[in-house]
């Protein structure tokens, strides 16, 4: 495999920016980091001050494959990820059929490899067929390559099943990723219970729905001493529960999404109830949104995920109440967050959000993958180049993803990934750049 020498970059290693500005990649790995690296036979990529970051790691993406391929398949999803600067994507298992046995885990892995874009890592369901009744073959799925267990789309149906699964997996198996929601409070809900539900009459999903399920998971972990990861946190009070659990020393982690960090319920109202803002958990109050930024900064929130939930326009472009939940964002998520941070939270260091998109999420995966999201000698050369000066208008019609709408369509954002490498191989390049 050819060598690549990255010169003139601001290098982010997954935690900090380095003094060095050159990285040499050989045989798909990072062989050297330094200055004035000497290498005659390498292809040279000159950064002119752009950022060289570990490729982004997304713990939560939906690809609708198998069973809903017109909305997205693993190939289109993997390419969309590459175009968004993501080098590793964890595929959610709520497909048709649901990924709840080893052969299906292998299906996701092999289709991901064939796509030749971002690395696709499967997750498996907690329960057989995602029915919430009995445990799926968790150990076999882990052996086949599943990196999380989740009934995402729904919470684990009963406290008893969650308790069993947490006991069974313990701290040596992939984490259980819980979709925090109380089924009876969620039922029929469309939007956040608050200003938006008051103004529209749409059925509200109270923030308590999330908090109750988080409290359930924490109570079980406290008692049995396992660990749990809560995904797509959206509300202040649920976050506070996690903050306290962490203080208590429990092995509890969580993530939030790009869209919950950058949007709130007012976006739904101001759009005249446009379905592109319909997502679960719903876009919540400004106060909730602010609390997520506090959670990022004080370490309560471990990772930022896309919860990329693609729908073909024919399905998504419906009146709000008739449309399915989900925001597709892989191809603009990084820019959305960088742009929002620069405008609204200029004092939050860029390192912090990049860390939550790289090394921090990787560290929540099984051992084999924990070194992803870092730029260190000897590690896999998963690299994303970021141009902080680049301004581009979000244009979903050009996406690799089959979802052709998102909340940021038509908006100019500054700070974009421009090139993506997996194991030293370039998998995507912005046409106009470098």
């Amino acid at each position: 495999m050819k060598k690549i020498l990255f010169k003139g970059f601001k290098i982010f290693n997954g935690t900090d920016f380095l003094e060095s500005n050159e990285v040499l990649v050989e045989n798909g790995k990072i062989s050297k980091i330094g200055n004035d690296l000497d290498c005659n036979d390498a292809e040279i990529i000159d950064g002119f001050g752009k950022i060289l970051s570990p490729g982004f790691v997304d713990l939560h993406a939906h690809f609708r494959d198998p069973g809903g391929e017109w909305n997205e398949d693993i190939t289109s999803g993997a390419k969309a990820g590459a175009a968004g600067g993501f080098t590793t994507l964890v595929a959610m298992p709520n497909t048709k059929p649901a990924i709840s046995e080893p052969s299906l885990v292998e299906y996701v892995l092999s289709h991901g490899k064939a796509a030749g874009a971002s690395r696709i890592l499967p997750s498996g369901c907690v329960s057989k067929n995602r029915e919430g009744k009995e445990m799926a073959e968790l150990l076999k799925m882990a052996e086949a390559g599943a990196v999380f267990f989740t009934d995402d789309g729904s919470p684990v149906a009963t406290s008893a099943l969650l308790r069993l699964a947490l006991m069974y997996t313990g701290e040596d198996q992939p984490r259980i990723m819980e979709h925090p929601e109380d089924a009876s409070l969620f039922k029929g809900g469309q939007v956040h219970e608050g200003r938006v539900s008051a103004l529209s009459g749409l059925k509200g999903i109270p923030a308590a729905s999330e908090e109750i399920d988080v409290a359930r998971g924490i109570a079980i972990v406290r008692e049995i001493g396992s660990r749990i990861h809560f995904t797509h946190l959206s509300s202040k009070n649920a976050l506070e529960r996690i903050r306290q659990a962490k203080k208590e020393g429990l092995n509890v982690t969580c993530d939030t999404t790009f869209h919950h960090l950058t949007l709130n319920e007012n976006a739904v109202i101001n759009s005249g109830y446009n379905s592109r803002y319909k997502v679960n958990p719903p876009l919540r109050s400004i106060e909730d949104q602010k609390s997520l930024w506090e959670g990022l900064q004080d370490g309560t929130i471990d990772a930022i995920v896309t919860d990329h939930a693609p729908w073909h326009l024919d399905e998504k472009d419906e009146p709000f109440e008739d449309a399915p939940f989900g925001i597709a964002s892989l191809e603009c998520a990084a820019a959305v967050l960088i742009d929002f941070k620069d405008k609204n939270y200029p004092d939050v260091p860029l390192e912090l959000i990049l860390k939550k998109m790289t090394s921090a999420p990787a560290s929540l995966m099984p051992k084999k993958w924990q070194s992803l999201g870092r730029i260190e000698e000897g590690l896999l050369a998963d690299i994303t180049l970021i141009d902080m000066e680049r301004t581009r208008v979000v244009d979903c019609s050009t996406w690799f993803s089959k979802a052709r709408c998102c909340p940021w369509e038509g908006i100019a954002l500054t700070g974009w990934p421009v090139m993506t490498f997996v194991e030293g191989k370039m998998i995507w390049q912005d046409d106009e750049d470098l």
Binding site: G194, S197, A198, S200, G201, G272, S275, E318, F320, E321
Partner: protein
């Protein structure tokens, strides 16, 4: 009848689509009321027809059954000489297998100039407006969100009785949570300068009443104190099935309106209701049929205000 609003005179009407009443300024609202008064005169003529919309095609696109609203629109359209087509879709568009945007484009291809739509989904009217290239859309109710012509006809009825509505108090009693009537009326009456108070079971109130800019008072007797208008909202009996209140009888006992409740309001206060009324549930028959009730006047106002809106948005001033 009232000098004040007509003095505003001609204004430039900038509205094409009407999705909700929040698009109107106070001046525009009063201008509209004044126009409705002229239209109401047409209703009293021996030949109830003016050629304002002659040669225009209006489609009443109803995804939900609503005979009253549809007939009211249809009468208004016919009095303005429009060609009227009623397009009723039983069940949802999905059940029929056609998406709403295909329906919209079909209507335009057939040459519809104005589409009056009732749909069960919040945001449906806004959605349709975004898909129509040429035709005008008037929202005849989108789910629990908005019912602008109802709000305007209520405002018109109140204005005819009370004149300038600045500083007047209106109390809504009933199921605000699921009511598009309440949502649009609150905006309209607030824009007109009224104080708005809500009452009803807490389970049928939005959690964040503040977002609506109103006070909530659980006890209807307190809520109607000093009110110039008491507006009873229709109770849908299936809400009891949802468990939001234990029984119709208990609802009537606490929040049902009768002459006794009206004693707490201003003497001669108006009793209003969007219809159809549930006698013995949200309103006692003695009140519904009594001298304070303006319920049938509201129905008449509906035709006039819809004529005014059709005229302004679809034909006249522009």
């Amino acid at each position: 009848m009232n000098a004040m609003p007509s003095e505003i005179g001609q204004i430039v009407w900038r509205h094409k689509n009407v999705i909700d009443v929040d698009c109107f300024t106070r001046e525009e609202l009063y201008f509209l009321l004044d126009q409705a008064r002229h239209m109401e005169n047409v209703m009293d003529r021996p030949i109830k027809k003016v050629p304002v919309l002659r040669g225009k095609m209006v489609v009443n696109l109803f995804f939900e059954n609503s005979t009253r609203t549809r007939v009211s629109f249809e009468l208004a359209e016919k009095m303005l000489s429009a060609d009227v087509v009623n397009w009723s879709v039983q069940g949802s568009s999905q059940a029929k297998g056609e998406t709403m945007r295909d329906t919209a484009w079909t209507l335009e291809a057939m040459g519809a100039d104005i589409v009056v739509m009732r749909h069960g989904a919040v945001g449906a009217a806004q959605y349709l407006a975004s898909k129509l290239k040429r035709a005008i859309i008037l929202n005849a109710g989108d789910g629990t969100h908005a019912h602008p012509t109802q709000a305007l006809l209520d405002l018109y009825t109140a204005w005819k009785h009370l004149g300038d509505l600045e500083g007047k108090k209106i109390t809504f009693v009933g199921d605000v949570l699921h009511s598009r009537v309440a949502r649009s009326d609150i905006i309209a009456f607030k824009t007109a300068g009224c104080e708005v108070v809500l009452s009803g079971p807490p389970t049928m109130m939005p959690n964040e009443v503040d977002a609506l800019g109103c006070k909530y008072e659980k006890d209807p007797k307190k809520a109607v104190e000093n009110a110039d208008m008491v507006y009873l909202l229709r109770i849908q009996k299936e809400r009891q099935m949802d468990g939001l209140f234990p029984s119709v009888d208990e609802y009537h006992r606490w929040w049902g309106a009768d002459d006794e409740l009206m004693k707490y309001a201003k003497p001669g206060a108006l009793a209003m209701h969007p219809g159809p009324i549930n006698r013995g549930v949200e309103i006692a028959s003695t009140l519904a049929d009594g001298h304070q009730s303006v319920i049938l006047e509201q129905v008449r106002s509906g035709v006039a205000i819809r004529m005014a809106l059709l005229y302004l948005c679809g034909g006249g001033v522009r």
